[in-house]
């Protein structure tokens, strides 16, 4: 490992950057100093400049992405303007968001060798370093695999191993978990934690889901609109009002504690109060409070839909290959007006099942009837008049030159009239009016997602299906989209979406369906379905489970519900 750098391993001084062709600066006066061995979380909403800052640290900005660069970045004693990206690569390892597009070889071993070959190491050293990297990251068993045989989490760990082999002092990870399922994300973060803890590698991590990493990091830097707005220890930053103002998702346990502090006298939490960063800490800190909340008569608000059945799935089996079924006898009925979350790990069959609802997949055995049409008989085009489908990646939707045409395209191909009005209406609903004449692909990720949703909502399908609509979005956008969907459902239409994000499913919708290995394992009203479901319980619920013996209802899923219970409980307790 390179030993010439000591403290202040990463320094930026008055850093400004504006991408060429852009009017607004991506970074404004960013000055940070990160010490060797620190684990730093870089937080903030989408478009706040986190990725740009990360790319400044290994020289991709300004060497790869050109623009107006001001100030100074020094990493391991190297000024990034003078050093090449290749030189910096020996000091700064970079792991990107998309697991697919950073693996360039057809075999894991060769993937790890790639960087080492580039810097011209002799063969025997490369061999040694490959072993070391595979072992450190815990992927010895993957050495001969082709990337297409790997899951997302495995790909990310291969990416980490491949930069680790270069013996960097600093590891920068740009949302490495945003495309992974909870298990994959946990595997990746565990590795990162170990690298920091055991090898003393300085880590700079960008992550939207603070609840996953809060307890691992030494320091949180919050960015908004290209500026650093908060910088400090996790507990300190969590109490900072400015964090909430950026629309960042505060981990539910933290959020609950802060709100309890705000609404009640601090003494309800007794002395020695601190902000919990994990569920375990939450249990400890909030236990005294919940002990006093006994015997409340709280019941969760549930919507029981009694409309007619619009989707009927009867014992469906499906597989692309004869001997490898993906769906193994799935049955599900969905009523008009329901808002259903479909949860499950990657490859549990969620997308495969959703595709059955519009005839893209036809059951090998069993039957799917949607709006009275049997999918084995109706064509996709016929079903598409009743069912709207928003795919995972909005890029796959975008074909037109302007947002207007994009939204009008399906209307035209289905032969609707008064297209102009319909498009206008839906653009207004999704706050896209000002992008009407923009090129859709030049928009940000969240805006693209909204355009994709708009193009489907425009023809007002009776059933709306979304495959991971919130993936990779920041908190405020997630909430916005979920609210739009809820509004759409309230007009007597049906919404089904798949997600990994249990917290979102806990806050919105009214029914949770959990799949595992091609079967539906849980299908219930969300409070019953998500409570005590181990991997698929929201944070608050996992905490509350240990308070059941005080009479705290076990169906509490969200911060709001927990506050209601506390409120009732404390009032009854005669406070």
């Amino acid at each position: 490992m390179n030993r010439e750098c000591g403290e202040g391993i990463v320094l930026t001084e008055g850093l400004h950057f504006t991408y060429s062709g852009s009017q607004t600066p991506a970074l404004v006066d960013v000055s940070i100093a990160i010490d060797e061995g620190e684990f730093v979380l870089l937080a903030g909403p989408s478009g706040s400049g986190k990725s740009t800052l990360a790319r400044c640290l290994n020289g991709l900005v300004p060497h790869f992405h050109g623009g107006k660069f001001g100030g100074r970045v020094v990493v391991c004693g190297l000024d990034t303007r003078e050093a090449t990206v290749a030189e910096l690569a020996r000091h700064v390892g970079f792991v990107f968001q998309d697991p697919e597009n950073q693996l360039v070889s057809m075999e894991v071993e060769r993937e790890i060798a790639f960087g080492l070959e580039n810097i011209g190491l002799p063969k025997d050293v490369i061999g040694k370093r490959i072993e070391e990297a595979l072992d450190t990251v815990g992927i010895l068993h993957l050495r001969k695999k082709h990337p297409k045989e790997l899951s997302g989490g495995e790909k990310q760990r291969v990416a980490i191993a491949s930069v680790l082999a270069l013996h960097p002092n600093v590891l920068v990870l740009d949302e490495p978990t945003s495309e992974l399922d909870p298990q994959g994300a946990e595997d990746v973060l565990k590795v990162v934690e170990r690298l920091n803890d055991e090898l003393g590698i300085t880590v700079i991590l960008i992550e939207h889901r603070l609840d996953r990493v809060m307890h691992l990091v030494d320091r949180v830097i919050v960015m908004n609109r290209g500026r650093i707005i908060a910088d400090g220890e996790p507990r300190e930053v969590m109490r900072d009002e400015r964090l909430r103002e950026t629309g960042t998702e505060i981990p539910p346990v933290v959020d609950l504690t802060l709100k309890v502090m705000e609404h009640y006298e601090p003494d309800v939490l007794r002395d020695g109060f601190k902000i919990p960063l994990t569920v375990k800490e939450g249990r400890k800190i909030l236990r005294p409070l919940f002990r006093r909340v006994n015997g409340v008569g709280w019941k969760p608000k549930t919507h029981h839909q009694t409309g007619k059945i619009v989707i009927s799935i009867e014992n469906v089996w499906f597989g692309y290959e004869y001997d490898q079924p993906i769906l193994k006898g799935v049955s599900l009925n969905v009523r008009k007006g329901e808002f259903v979350a479909l949860l499950g790990r990657n490859a549990s069959g969620k997308t495969t099942l959703l595709k059955h609802l519009i005839g893209l997949n036809i059951p090998s055995k069993g039957r799917v009837v949607v709006c009275g049409l049997d999918t084995r008989e109706a064509t996709v085009a016929e079903l598409a008049r009743h069912v709207g489908f928003v795919f995972q990646n909005p890029n796959d939707h975008l074909i037109a030159d302007t947002v207007f045409e994009e939204v009008a395209f399906p209307l035209k191909s289905m032969g609707y009239d008064n297209i102009e009005e319909r498009v206008k209406e839906v653009l207004k609903l999704l706050k896209l009016e000002r992008y009407r004449d923009c090129y859709p692909r030049s928009l940000s990720g969240g805006e693209k997602q909204r355009v994709a949703i708009a193009s489907v909502l425009a023809f007002k399908p009776e059933i709306l299906i979304l495959d991971e609509p919130t993936r990779g979005l920041d908190f405020s956008l997630k909430e916005y989209i979920m609210k739009i969907l809820d509004g759409y459902r309230k007009n007597g239409r049906t919404v089904i979406y798949s997600t990994h994000d249990v917290e979102t499913a806990a806050r919105h919708g009214d029914r949770a369906v959990i799949m595992s290995e091609g079967k539906i394992v849980i299908d219930d009203e969300k409070h019953k379905g998500l409570a005590n479901a181990l991997l698929f319980s929201p944070q608050i619920n996992r905490m509350i489970q240990s308070f059941r013996r005080y009479g705290v209802p076990e169906e509490i899923l969200t911060v709001e519900e927990a506050l209601e219970v506390i409120d009732i409980g404390l009032r009854r307790g005669g406070r």
Binding site: T84, A86, F96, E100, Q102, A113, N118, G120
Partner: protein, 311 residues
């Protein structure tokens, strides 16, 4: 279906170098000879490796593809080639551009043999595609002093073919759910219908290539220092010997062709098959099959050892 799959057969375990020289030899031989006997025997010579390598299923996919083209080649040949004396059918009057169309036995036969030639080439390369690890081909290119950047481009394209295919699938699905019917209407309409699939596919690929470039630079790609290679194609003496042997088949063929053996005339009348050309065909056939037969025999006689063997 049509890509490399790891398998433990004598054919898969054989070094890439002799296999690729073998395919190139067959390619060249099939191009310099149009003798029916030689062409047919060349095709037969590609069957044993497919059998020994247990890749008949994948191999036949390529061959079926070739069979599909034979009628096309035959039709084109009889439509435009009016040489030959044995007239099977004559239209009897002149057509503009085509002249007076006649179908001759010779043109028909020639067309069929050209189809066989296509089949030979497809069959030989099917065996390479299915039984040689793509990395081995790249390492062979490096060994032959092909510049690294060119090899890298080939490597990256094959790496991302599965990604591209799944992209095509998803985007097609997206457009179908938007009411696009790909298989309806006239051919022109159908081609036009594909545009909504093509546009996002190209745009996605472009964006992907930028991301790949970023990721490569972040791992020191483009450093000026001389690059090293972790894995290189290893050639044992036996591999070299087999390669030389196969290469000598090519030389035998070329020399025979210069000396005038194996020449066959299709026009004006089909010339008779001479004993010489049968001998030449059998000789080339045996030389092309011997290496595979011998690895197969050695493999089977040392079966218990082979599993614990190298790699």
């Amino acid at each position: 279906m049509m890509v490399y799959k790891e398998a433990n057969t004598p054919i898969h375990r054989m070094n890439a170098m002799p296999k690729i020289i073998w395919a190139i030899t067959i390619l060249i031989l099939s191009l310099i000879f149009d003798n029916p006997v030689v062409l047919i025997l060349l095709f037969v010579a590609t069957i044993p490796p497919a059998v020994f390598g247990k890749i008949i299923k994948e191999w036949s996919f390529f061959v079926k593809f070739g069979l599909f083209f034979i009628p096309v080649i035959v039709l084109l040949n009889i439509a435009f080639n009016h040489n030959g004396e044995h007239i099977l059918y004559s239209l009897g009057y002149d057509l503009p551009f085509f002249g007076s169309p006649v179908i001759t036995l010779e043109a028909l036969f020639y067309g069929i043999m050209m189809g066989v030639r296509l089949l030979v080439i497809l069959s030989a390369f099917a065996i390479i595609t299915v039984s040689v690890h793509p990395d081995d081909i790249l390492m062979l290119m490096l060994k032959m002093k092909v510049p690294y950047k060119s090899v890298l481009i080939v490597s990256l394209s094959s790496r991302f073919i599965p990604t591209l295919l799944s992209d095509v699938e998803t985007i097609t699905d997206v457009q179908r759910t938007r009411g696009l019917e790909l298989d309806r209407g006239s051919i022109i309409k159908r081609i036009k219908n594909r545009f909504p699939v093509l546009v996002p596919l190209l745009a996605n690929s472009l964006e992907r290539s930028v991301e790949i470039a970023e990721a490569m630079e972040a791992r020191a790609f483009g450093e000026n220092k001389k690059r090293t290679f972790y894995k290189e194609l290893k050639l044992s003496n036996a591999d070299k010997l087999v390669s030389v042997f196969i290469f000598s088949t090519l030389l035998v063929g070329i020399i025979a062709r210069f000396l005038g053996y194996g020449i066959y005339e299709y026009y004006p009348v089909l010339s008779p098959i001479e004993l010489e050309s049968i001998i030449l065909g059998v000789l080339l056939f045996s030389m092309l099959v011997i290496p595979y037969v011998s690895v197969w025999i050695t493999y089977n006689s040392s079966e218990p050892l082979a599993h614990g063997g190298h790699q």
